[in-house]
């Protein structure tokens, strides 16, 4: 056939327009982070560095929500379970075992994977609202158990997590240094983002989109739906747990509140406001929400009224979220450019 490959090329161009758009937003996020660091450092600030680091950490949690919600169409209302678990495991390792970043992360990854597998086996067969309720219930159970376990500090949580030095190849980052730790967290969370974004574009990741679109048809294409959903769930659990593991390094303590529904619910709101199914949207959403909470919180104690109202307006007027809203025009321009530059 004369035009063999023509369809494949056309399809690739159309896919690349979407992919390049999201990558542009990701690179812009990194640029904004570095710009922020430069400005804040020149002002000799610590408070805003800590706040921005917190936004990154909760952004990682919202990213994990988007892996499930935006790709597989699974709404998890219990993502705080893995986030809090990561925070507690990291805190316990750093305080009681060895103040080593890599050990804390390795143990967190192992525990997150096992917890993810167990929770997946319990919840994965349920769909839609039932899946959401099971994840919600599991997180509540674990939160109550932690709250009532004296060895985990019960309602007080664990305090006195030591400041640690993260050994990277060639240099080190001290978690007590607000600027350095912010930049480290930026790199860490973006690495999680790029991993998820890569997987989403592979044939394996695309099965998730097929499951969201028409789950019952997928087995007739020869894919094991249950296994794919379990793997996606475990990936999301690991992303949430690894993000949570950064929390005690930032704040020096962990408390049962990290496992509460407010954290899970906030992550869902963050993912939706930022733009579901974009993966980078949740990071922008987190910066926006953590920033707004802090700014509005300094004027009024009722900042949740403002945030709640904003959420309602955002969902009504920007149902695609922040990135979803800006994605289309940019995608069209990038699509037009790649079409005109292609041979």
């Amino acid at each position: 056939m004369a035009d063999a490959g023509a369809v494949i090329t056309a399809v690739r161009h159309s896919e690349q327009a979407g992919h390049r758009t999201l990558t542009s937003f990701a690179l812009a996020f990194i640029a904004l982070g570095i710009l922020f660091a430069a400005v804040a450092a020149s002002l000799g600030d610590v408070f805003f560095f800590r706040l921005a680091t917190e936004a990154l950490i909760f952004g990682g949690l919202a990213l994990s929500v988007d892996v499930l919600l935006g790709y597989a169409g699974m709404l998890s209302l219990g993502q705080a379970l893995f986030f809090g678990l990561g925070a507690y495991v990291s805190a316990l390792v750093l305080k009681n075992v060895l103040p080593s970043f890599w050990l804390a992360m390795a143990v967190t990854l192992a525990v997150g994977t096992v917890a993810g597998l167990v929770a997946a086996v319990i919840s994965i067969r349920a769909r839609g609202v039932y899946f959401a309720l099971i994840t919600f219930g599991l997180a509540q159970v674990v939160a109550k158990v932690v709250f009532n376990t004296p060895r985990l500090g019960a309602s007080d949580g664990i305090i006195g997590i030591p400041v640690i030095t993260i050994d990277l190849v060639g240099f080190t980052v001290d978690t007590g240094n607000a600027r350095a730790f912010f930049l480290f967290c930026l790199a860490f969370v973006m690495a999680l983002y790029f991993l998820c974004a890569y997987l989403a574009r592979t044939p394996a990741g695309r099965v998730l989109a097929a499951i969201r679109s028409n789950e019952d048809r997928v087995p007739f294409l020869g894919y094991p739906v249950g296994l794919v959903k379990v793997l996606a769930f475990v990936l999301a659990a690991d992303v949430a747990a690894l993000s949570g593991a950064l929390y005690p390094m930032l704040r020096g303590f962990v408390s049962p509140e990290l496992l509460y529904f407010e954290v899970s619910g906030n992550a869902v709101i963050t993912a939706i406001i930022g733009g579901m199914g974009t993966l980078i949207g949740p990071l922008y959403g987190s910066a926006l929400i953590v920033g707004l909470k802090s700014v509005i919180g300094s004027y009024t104690a009722h900042h949740l009224i403002v945030i709640g109202t904003l959420f309602v307006f955002a969902v009504i007027f920007f149902p695609q979220g922040l990135i979803g809203y800006f994605k289309r025009p940019l995608e069209r321009r990038l699509g037009a450019r790649s079409a005109s530059t292609s041979p």
């Binding site: 399809v11 044939p203 007739f220």
Partner: protein, 259 residues
């Protein structure tokens, strides 16, 4: 010719069902149905509404389990196997109700299905590396005259185009046996004729088991016809013999005179 693997001798039918039965509550939907289909042929199952045709299809394709009886594929008992394991064996199906990934592009619908042709580990490499699957999807999109709609969402296709895509998806995995569940359902007259020609052109490459409402189409296309009535096999044979069979005529046109 697939010489080599042992159960491939010409005497073994590609598919055989033996005394297949399933009951839904008080309804005996499929009642001790047996038949076999030969390689490279088009076999059709016809029957009035409620005769148990679709249920029979669901039993063969692993969508539901029979209460009793066997499904033999290449002489191997595959009764109750899951759809994805049947696909491994070489048995694919299309659906009566258009059952696509409506939000995904047309090409992606086919690529997802064709990905089965690639080794599993390639699922974690960039999609462009699965060249075999991409080429298969491209060949099918051209053959089914959907290339101009490659990047459109499947949900945006016309009904006739969606029905064609439905068949193309089932073909993507290069099955040995293709089960087509009313492929021309709801199609216009012109689309129906086109689809019939398409099905006929496939017959040389693989074996087809077809459920169809359109009796004329079946008579024209099929090498062998199985007639079902009230869950049971009423008759089976060459289209001309079926057309002349008084029991079949009664089931279709009479008032259940021969039930």
């Amino acid at each position: 010719m697939n010489a080599g693997s042992p159960p491939h001798d010409a005497d073994t039918p590609l598919l055989a069902v033996r005394d297949l039965s399933v009951r839904f509550g008080a309804l005996q939907a499929v009642d001790r149905v047996s038949f076999a289909i030969a390689r490279g042929r088009i076999t059709s199952v016809i029957g009035p509404n409620g005769a148990g045709k679709s249920t029979l299809f669901n039993l063969i394709s692993g969508a539901i389990r029979p209460d009793s009886g066997q499904v033999l594929f290449r002489g191997t008992d595959v009764t109750g196997r899951s759809p994805n394991r049947l696909l491994d064996a070489g048995l694919a199906r299309s659906f009566q109700i258009t059952n696509l990934f409506f939000e995904l592009p047309v090409f992606e619908n086919l690529r997802l299905a064709a990905q089965r042709l690639e080794p599993g580990w390639r699922a974690l490499l960039p999609t462009q590396r699965s060249a075999h699957a991409l080429r298969r999807a491209e060949a099918l999109i051209a053959r089914f005259d959907l290339a101009h709609k490659a990047t459109a969402a499947a949900g945006a296709l016309s009904h006739g185009e969606q029905r064609r895509l439905e068949i193309a998806i089932a073909l993507a995995t290069q099955p040995e046996l293709l089960l087509l569940d009313e492929p021309t359902q709801g199609m216009s007259h012109g689309d129906t004729a086109e689809t019939a020609a398409l099905i006929k052109s496939l017959a040389g490459e693989l074996t087809i088991l077809l459920i169809e409402h359109d009796v004329e189409l079946v008579m024209d296309l099929s090498d062998h016809v199985v007639v079902m009535h009230q869950g049971m096999k009423l008759a089976a044979g060459h289209p001309a013999a079926i057309r002349a069979n008084p029991k079949v005529q009664a089931a279709y046109f009479g008032e259940a005179a021969v039930a």
